[in-house]
Symmetry: C2
Subunit: 202 residues, 2 copies
């Protein structure tokens, strides 16, 4: 069984999630970075994550908050950048790669009000050329110091916070997808009560 | 001797730094977090860092980009939160603690156009009560998920990016402090050319 309080908490989180936002993680190898990105997704109301791992293995996230957060995210795996972008495009989602190329737009100039995916690439090599070629655009967080790159989990959070800022005050809609998630969560929580991973907060 | 190219690079970084912004790091114990924060300071044009370590030791930052970045930041140590806030107030700098209290303001509602310091507290206990008591206000990055906190280096970057966003298009002024820094950097680089830590980018 599931308590009213837990149910209300789950519903409140679902209600505030933006169903038309996806964070794509491509070949990020460091567990600390992957963990921080998942934690930020939860924090900023992005419930959907896509994994594209062609040169790396998704790192095992074994402890801490992020290990618990994973359970509450929809995490889809794609076998290639092409397959990922095609699936997102089928849903009408615009895909932005993050990279340092000259053509990249300042993230503050991008309108994130529509369905949007942001792609975060490998710590050393960034997004794959295949991903960049198929994306609708590429973004950069401008930097004014000696260093030419931000930590990838930091860049991810900066982008997510800007998306949240632009959507501030706009109530996310309740979708059939959310209704399905709610059913799945209730089912899972009811049948495996011992598996309450964020029991202190839910 | 120092090359024209290096000199131009140093000057360009200094010109774009906001001299009236300070990031205060209080008892952050994880080297990965401290490193990411220093790297973000450089990236977002914040050249001044204050360390307040009363319960922890500032972690050794031995490798990676952040080890190199430290050299280009002005890092001041204070023996107590009181001493730190007093020194910042003497300069007319407003101090904002980050914390989860009910009184905290949404960071998006805060005007960062004036001289500002943000305080990032320990991973587990947050800012000290002494710091919170003396600060001019406290900030929160609103979260809408299951988890009640962001990774501290992520929160730091979100705050710094918002400060940079609010000041976008505003050219930082050249100050006597920057002129002094420039002289000190040239002196250091000229006398210890082998100590070129970010030689690839400077």
């Amino acid at each position: 069984m599931i308590t009213e309080r837990r149910l209300a908490r789950m519903r409140r989180v679902l209600e505030r999630r933006h169903d038309d936002l996806v964070v794509v993680i491509e070949d990020i190898h460091d567990a600390h970075n992957a963990s921080a990105i998942l934690r930020s997704c939860d924090a900023f109301g992005i419930g959907r994550v896509a994994l594209v791992y062609t040169n790396q293995v998704f790192p095992e996230i074994s402890g801490g908050v992020a290990a618990q957060v994973q359970k509450w995210l929809q995490i889809d795996r794609y076998e290639s950048p092409e397959a990922c972008v095609a699936a997102l495009h089928d849903e009408g989602i615009k895909v932005y790669a993050t990279d340092l190329s000259e053509q990249s737009q300042d993230y503050l100039d991008v309108d994130f009000s529509g369905p949007t995916a942001i792609v975060l690439g490998n710590e050393h090599s960034g997004c794959s050329p295949e991903m960049a070629a198929r994306a609708d655009g590429s973004l950069i967080v401008p930097m004014v110091g000696f260093v030419q790159s931000l930590n990838v989990s930091v860049a991810a959070a900066v982008l997510m916070s800007e998306i949240a800022r632009q959507r501030r005050g706009r109530e996310p809609v309740w979708t059939t997808h959310k209704a399905e998630m709610e059913r799945a969560w209730i089912e899972r929580e009811s049948t495996r009560p011992s598996d309450r991973l964020i029991s202190d907060v839910v």
